[in-house]
């Protein structure tokens, strides 16, 4: 028989899971099986039953966190399916974006060193002014729509106020046009010290991740490794279909080592840099069609 504490934990987990009833029951059943077997093992080892129940539950961590992780995995599956189903249109959208870029429609979004405003608030004129690049965008089936950031801290606001979503294909991808210069720490503001390590514009399929890097790079300790320092942002966009809301998971980092063959990070360090608070390494910005 399950312990009362197990049931309380699983009920809390099930309530937090944003999944169907059948999916919730299956997940609860799987975790209950694990908890019961773990409890048996611990009590067989001579551990007091009450302590064993606590230990077994502790290994699962907070119910809310676990529910979030389990839900995100399922969202990822759905998003991957959507991305895969829309691959031809995704390719088409990419080509359209590239064509627009080639014709300079997004001229204003390309990087030019500008004075840093790391502490600008969303109410500041700079933050609230529409990006100049949008004025030249043409409407049409592949027209891009603006997203409005809310509930984001000033740094995120300044970094991502130029996010655009492909209106024709909202399930497919998000085009990021970061206003990168505004998140630079003071000591990296000179043009000479900046090296663009990635394209200024990224087409990121929902549910997948991309890196926005700015700063200095140097050859790493091992072949094919590059170390970057400055400010980096690891971004994962999610599209919420019903609410037509874009959720962005953003992770800031100060130093990162990258394998240049696989482009995968090998090590990441988040440290305090002047002008930007990297203590809070993961943030979420919610955006809605504006």
């Amino acid at each position: 028989m399950s312990e009362r504490e197990f049931e309380a934990y699983l009920n809390l987990l099930a309530r937090t899971l944003k999944l169907s009833e059948a999916q919730r029951q299956r997940i609860s059943g799987e975790l209950r099986d694990h908890l019961e077997e773990r409890l048996q093992e611990l009590t067989d080892d001579g551990i007091d039953r009450e302590a064993a129940v606590s230990a077994a539950l502790e290994e699962f961590g907070e119910a809310n966190t676990l529910a979030d992780n389990l839900t995100n995995r399922r969202k990822l599956k759905k998003m991957k399916y959507l991305a895969s189903a829309n691959r031809p249109r995704l390719v088409a959208l990419s080509l359209v974006a590239l064509a627009l870029l080639a014709f300079g429609v997004y001229r204003g979004a390309f990087y030019t060193p500008t004075p840093s405003v790391p502490n600008a608030s969303p109410d500041s004129p700079l933050a609230s002014a529409p990006p100049s690049s949008t004025e030249t965008r043409k409407p049409g089936p592949q027209a891009l729509i603006e997203a409005t950031v809310y509930d984001a801290d000033p740094v995120l606001w300044e970094s991502f106020r130029q996010i655009s979503i492909g209106e024709a294909e909202p399930n497919a991808s998000v085009l990021l046009l970061p206003n990168e210069a505004t998140v630079l720490p003071t000591h990296l503001q000179s043009e000479a010290s900046l090296t663009r390590l990635a394209s200024p514009n990224l087409l990121v399929p929902f549910g997948e991740s991309a890196e926005l890097l700015i700063g200095e790079s140097e050859v790493g300790d091992q072949p094919n490794h590059v170390r970057t320092s400055g400010v980096g942002i690891h971004v994962t966009p999610w599209w919420h279909h019903e609410s037509r809301t874009l959720e962005m998971s953003l992770t800031f980092y100060a130093h990162r080592a990258i394998d240049t063959e696989t482009l995968k990070p090998i090590a990441t360090t988040t440290t305090q840099s002047p002008g930007i608070n990297l203590e809070s390494t993961t943030s979420r910005a919610w955006l809605q069609n504006g």
């Binding site: 799987e30 975790l31 961590g61 990822l76």
Partner: protein, 122 residues
């Protein structure tokens, strides 16, 4: 004394979880708890249950493992097994590991000989 600090060791372990789970499943189908035990026995490290299940569900979503429910033992239990794609991923990951290990050996062993034969005097 270990040369790696706790964080580095944890990072190394965390970065290898996918391949460890796939490797455990290469022996045949397992359920969550038995996977956790096998990894602990083999590596001396424990995958927290709170990390294991999201990982298993991701591998399932990626088509690398498939899951079935059975009640042979008297209670419903979810079993995982490798798919063909999972086997391919395991082969690739194992090759990557071997290559990385060989590169590290090529770098570290001569250095080890060097510091052993010519220890610093101060």
């Amino acid at each position: 004394m270990s040369g790696l600090d706790d964080k580095s060791r944890r990072d190394l372990f965390r970065g290898s979880l996918d391949v460890m789970v796939l490797a455990v499943l290469a022996d045949g189908k397992q359920y969550g708890y038995s996977i956790q035990k096998r990894v602990r026995e083999a590596s001396g490290q424990t995958i927290k249950a709170g990390s294991l299940y999201p990982l298993l569900h991701r591998l399932e979503a990626d088509g690398l493992v498939k899951a079935t429910w059975e009640s042979d033992t008297g209670r419903d239990r979810k079993w995982y097994e490798l798919t063909a794609a999972g086997q391919r991923r395991l082969k690739t990951a194992a090759a990557d590991w071997q290559a990385a290990f060989a590169r590290m050996q090529a770098l570290v062993l001569p250095a080890l000989r060097q510091v052993t034969n010519h220890p610093a005097t101060s």
